[in-house]
């Protein structure tokens, strides 16, 4: 047997080394105990957030390896952007909503229902408000006074945001020039300032800054999607089908062409492209999915038409009234649609075949996604009233 030594390739910098375990002699099959710890970082980065937090308690090396900023960024980058579903919970004495479960929907059919509908937060929704989400952060309003707060479900860090009391949420984005998370807000309260849009930096003690656009209330009815550094909303525009676009670097508004879809349509990202989807207006039985093949030139193409046997589904599951109340989710090249029929949330594949069903009266597709993060954001500890919750329930 030749004894040519083959140079072992240098490990990528992001792999951390820790105390090595006993090495096996060259040529023997190594066992688990003799594996270099560098490989473990590659394994740990693939764990879901909760399991990762648990694995920190295995040994010092694992705790160290999973706590660095670089590791957590890499971990966050791997997290799927799971579409959120709301589960409105009803009081047993009637219809009034008691609290809202926020559930990132696991796309994969075949995983247990309990796994697919794991709540990450319960919000006291005696007075339902609005929510925005960005990366792994949620900002929402709670309570009678519509107090706004920021929350990270993966770390359960929570902080109130009193500086923006009275404002309404339009969107949230990472502002790349400063590296801060910012909120796009709308104000319609003469006591607090001019009508229009404002931006506010999380962790900042500066008041929200006015950005003009007095008619910004038109953005309040649909959730935006962040794509290529821009926030997009569909708007009703007499001139034709348009999207309002907010450039998060320049922090300015413009418009772009949209495909001919009825309002409100669903905006999402699929295969790296901005996409829009809606039921056809005429029959409400076919889901049209358009993709922006050429984003810079604002050119769209009809990519899929998915026909659903609406009449049969109505008989089986219940009334299909909210033809706008559905969402399209795309992951690993697989596309699914979630549509509400009666008290059911149904999942269809791209061929219109029913692949899963969830019976829960209050399940409603939300319009944004959650990409969980364990990264320690610098703004949290700076906010007065900052806590790390032990439970996932957020009351007022």
């Amino acid at each position: 047997m030749r004894s040519t030594t083959v140079e072992k390739k240098p490990l990528p910098e992001k792999m951390l080394t820790a105390a090595p375990l006993a090495q096996s002699s060259t040529g023997e099959s190594s066992t688990v105990t003799q594996s270099p710890v560098e490989s473990w970082t590659e394994i740990l980065v693939r764990l879901p957030p909760k399991a990762l937090l648990r694995c920190r308690a295995v040994c010092r090396a694992w705790r160290g390896a999973t706590s660095t900023h670089d590791f957590l960024l890499a971990h966050h980058a791997r997290q799927p952007a799971l579409p959120l579903i709301y589960a409105y919970n009803f009081k047993c004495d009637g219809d009034r909503v008691k609290f809202l479960d926020i559930i990132p929907f696991d796309h994969r059919v075949g995983a247990a229902t309990a796994d697919r509908l794991q709540s990450v937060a319960q919000i006291d929704l005696s007075y339902p408000g609005m929510e925005v989400s960005c990366d792994g952060l949620l900002v929402f309003s709670v309570g009678e006074n519509r107090n706004l707060s920021v929350y990270n479900p993966a770390t359960r860090q929570y902080a109130p945001l009193p500086q923006i009391a009275g404002f309404m949420l339009l969107g949230m984005y990472p502002h790349s020039p400063t590296g801060k998370y910012r909120l796009l807000l709308y104000l319609s309260d003469a006591n607090l300032g001019q009508d229009g849009s404002y931006v506010f930096s999380l962790g900042s003690d500066q008041s929200p800054r006015y950005k003009g656009y007095p008619n910004a209330f038109e953005l309040m009815f649909t959730r935006p999607i962040l794509f290529r550094g821009n926030l997009h909303w569909q708007i009703l525009e007499s001139a034709g089908n348009m999207l309002k676009v907010f450039d998060t670097t320049a922090e300015s508004f413009r418009q772009m062409r949209a495909p001919p879809l009825p309002y409100p349509a669903h905006l999402f990202e699929m295969d790296g492209m901005l996409s829009m989807s809606s039921f056809d207006e005429a029959t409400n039985t076919t889901i049209d999915i358009w993709m922006s093949q050429d984003y810079d030139n604002e050119l769209w193409a009809l990519k899929y038409r998915v026909k659903l046997p609406v009449a049969d589904l109505t008989v089986q599951f219940g009334k299909f009234v909210e033809y706008w109340n559905f969402m399209v989710t795309s992951r690993d090249g697989g596309v699914s649609m979630l549509v509400k029929f009666g008290e059911w949330l149904l999942q269809f594949d791209i061929n219109g075949k029913l692949i899963a069903s969830f019976h829960f009266r209050g399940l409603v597709p939300a319009e944004h996604c959650l990409k969980q993060t364990l990264v320690q954001h610098t703004f949290f500890p700076m906010l007065q009233g900052y806590v790390v919750n032990n439970s996932s329930f957020i009351g007022c």
């Binding site: 072992k8 490989s39 770390t155 359960r156 899929y304």
Partner: protein
Amino acid sequence: MAATPADASSSSSEAVVGGEKSNKMITLISSDGESFEATEEAAKMSVTIKHMIEDGCADDGIPLPNVPAKILSMVIEYCNKHAADADDTNKHVADPADADEDDDNNNNNASAGEKEDLKSFDASLVAVDQATLFDIILAANFLSIKGLLDLACQKVADDIKDKSVEEVREIFKIENDFTKEEEEAVRKENAWAFNE
């Protein structure tokens, strides 16, 4: 093409078929002296091997002292399967505007079947014990086969994600080197992750 252990003494430097580069066979030699043959195309899924071929070091066969035969044969199986799949990615996808209404939903199906086939192949490849999984990880890391490294690491992660701290230590024979206070502190930091 399955990997076949060849006679250790046979030469492998001749191209099997003249002309087409992709039909050239490469010999890979495991740490325990067994020789395996793979097409150049499959072998090049390993960036390490690809560089060696391009540097002209592969003519007499490539010795891999870090990879035992059992693992090498699995690695070659993976490379064969995925190299063949990479070939087929240039598929004709029907233009939805051309198709009539009845065909629409079926056209969406283009390569779903192949994807499923590859997925189940991958799943059965890594349905092995932890020790073998780790050997695959080491080999994939050493040979720079990103897809296989990803697959094997994800499998280990999936295997341990619902396990308790004690179970994880047991599986990997890891010693708990925390002091009592340190361990308490870590568990307290995110208590809900341990209790729920």
